[in-house]
Amino acid sequence: MNRGLMLILIAFANSLRGIRNAATTSSMAILTIAIVLVLAGAASLLVENMAGVLEEFGAELRLTAYLDDTVPPEDQRHLAQTVAAAPGVDRVVFISKEEALRRFERIAGGDELLAGLDENPLPASLEIHLRPEARTAEGIAILDASLDGLPGIDELAHGQEWIEGYARAVALARTAAGTITIVLGLAALLIVANTIRLALYARRDELEILALVGASRTFVRVPFMLEGTIQGLLGGLIALLVVFGAFELVLPQVRTALELVVGRADLRFFSTAESIRLVLSGAGLGLLGSITALVGGRTA
């Protein structure tokens, strides 16, 4: 075994010894990182699922142009061709008065509601599907302007206001989650840094002796950096397990409530890459915390 590899093994052994000797403070650091990452992970999961819903709405976004009853059927079809040529339009589906009635009866579960009426009160309409690049507030505004005043169109309806409100809610949730993550991450960083500082203080005799026998700064510092990294890694793993457990166990109980908030029930958990990122962010926090402690501490 060469000396470089031996030094790495010794650094690992020393860091594990450090964690074992300061089990209480190490556990506190691991727990702090775990709590921070549970909160950050849960918030991120919620935001990502909300964003997913927004994307789905965006994909299904379409405008409905209700047509004037006085427009003859042949002109209505001509109007459909004119709208199809408008900017941002992908395709246009013509819904006749009869088709509209059939759809209404399907949704209402029968024709009792309209039974007393002499004639079909529902207007013919054009379902306008947008191209992906036009599914924005600006795209809809441009289309809106180009269709405005077009003879035969009675009313142009779309769910843009609702979608914009939902998008604002997602953005707000994302900002809140980001802020919470940063603030809690900073707190975790300080706690890990203090844990390592305590370890430096508790092991000052060892550090003095290591310096006497010719230990380099790297030899002294690396075990502390590994200690922070290992603590962070364990914290990250615990957080992942807790978030996963909560997702699997608690979600069915609150599915209905979440449907109201998030808009759908088929929520997804982190992908493998995202799970690894969560655990590694714990390791990063731990490493950064120990570096913070070492920069301020006396190690050799």
Partner: protein, 227 residues
């Protein structure tokens, strides 16, 4: 050591204008009252302190100008023993001695065999899995000595190594230190135990208030001396 002074406060010198030449393999006692500057002189040699004035050449390196990154390399060539042993209580005797080999990444098998041989030479091989607290003062100092020597240093510095030991153990430890010097290691021992100085008849440097008050040459030829 050329015109070396060390001052911790303006105008007050722990060492003042000390010039000293110690040959390779020489054995030297440093003596003097408490506060005479013995410990400071040793600390300057292993770069625990930086001189305020003057130059110190140790193993061909000017310690006064040594960068922080070069100090560990120097200390691997200088073994140090203290009155309070400086052993890690939570580690075994073997682990304590092995520290000096771990810092240079000595492979575990080689380290174990060298530690065993070293402990055998100080008569503690059977205690290698014990912790320092279960050992007597003399045994603990032998462990510290084994740690200082396991890397085969060219210089051994001992600061009151027998200060905490009874007369019988004192001789035991000093005999081991003298034995190290016979293998060519330069040895400097700070002590104010005059019986030791008389017993071994080596060169004696007496310090008084930070200055060299007396430099008495060895009464016996130094085995590994190089002039």
């Amino acid at each position: 050591m050329y015109h070396v002074s060390k001052s911790y406060m303006a105008g007050q010198y722990a060492l003042h204008d000390v010039s000293l030449d110690v040959s390779r393999g020489e054995f030297l006692f440093l003596t003097g009252a408490s506060g005479a500057g013995k410990t400071t002189l040793l600390e300057l040699i292993f770069a625990a302190e930086v001189p305020s004035e003057g130059q110190i050449l140790v193993l061909g390196r000017n310690v006064a100008r040594l960068g922080a990154g070069a100090i560990p390399a120097l200390r691997r060539r200088v073994g140090v023993v203290f009155q309070d042993f400086k052993l890690l209580q939570e580690r075994t005797v073997e682990e304590n001695v092995r520290l000096a080999l771990d810092v240079v990444g000595t492979p575990r098998r080689e380290a174990r065999s060298r530690v065993f041989a070293m402990l055998k030479s100080v008569g503690l091989q059977h205690r290698r899995f014990h912790h320092p607290l279960s050992l007597s003062g003399g045994e603990q100092q032998r462990v510290a000595l084994a740690r200082a020597l396991v890397n085969e240093p060219e210089i051994l510095l001992a600061d009151e190594p027998t200060g905490n030991l009874d007369p019988e153990l004192t001789i035991e430890i000093m005999d081991l230190i003298v034995k190290a010097s016979t293998r060519g290691t330069t040895v400097m021992v700070a002590t104010h135990d005059h019986s030791l100085i008389e017993r071994y008849g080596k060169r004696v440097l007496r310090l008084d208030a930070g200055r060299i008050a007396e430099d008495v040459p060895s009464a016996v030829p130094s085995t590994g001396a190089v002039s």
